[in-house]
Symmetry: C2
Subunit: 80 residues, 2 copies
């Protein structure tokens, strides 16, 4: 079972990496870029075949390792 | 107009970051993790309102700055 996890900074948390990309795009001549936010994208292949158990395990992984829940949100999408 | 860009390593390209996550998950007691691949996720807010022009600009941004097309693939999703 394959899962796609998105980890993004919470609203209001400063994103220096996104800001750097925005400035670099401006320097390259791309106008009209109002905002850029950078997050992480993680693909996980699990041996687990039960969707509910897989979701629980992934939730646990996000809380314990993959994300910093103080400043980051995460979403989990399971490919059935 | 808002766009979501995913940048992932091409098939066959070694992903040490993903491998490190996989090992760390194993160390934390998460079994059955067959593979982990880490990519980047970028949200871009554009002033452009024409979808076709926005897509072209984003494609250009990916080629010139955001991705390394030798080893990475990118996908662009536009929120209309």
């Amino acid at each position: 079972m394959k899962a796609r996890i998105h980890i993004t900074l919470k609203e209001g948390v400063l994103d220096p990496q996104g800001k750097a990309i925005q400035l670099a795009l401006g320097d390259l001549g791309f106008g009209g870029v109002d905002d850029v936010r950078q997050g992480k994208y993680i693909e996980v292949d699990l041996a687990e075949t039960d969707a509910s158990k897989a979701k629980d395990a992934l939730d646990d992984m996000c809380k314990k390792l993959l994300s910093n829940t103080v400043i980051e949100n995460y979403t989990i999408d399971l490919d059935e």
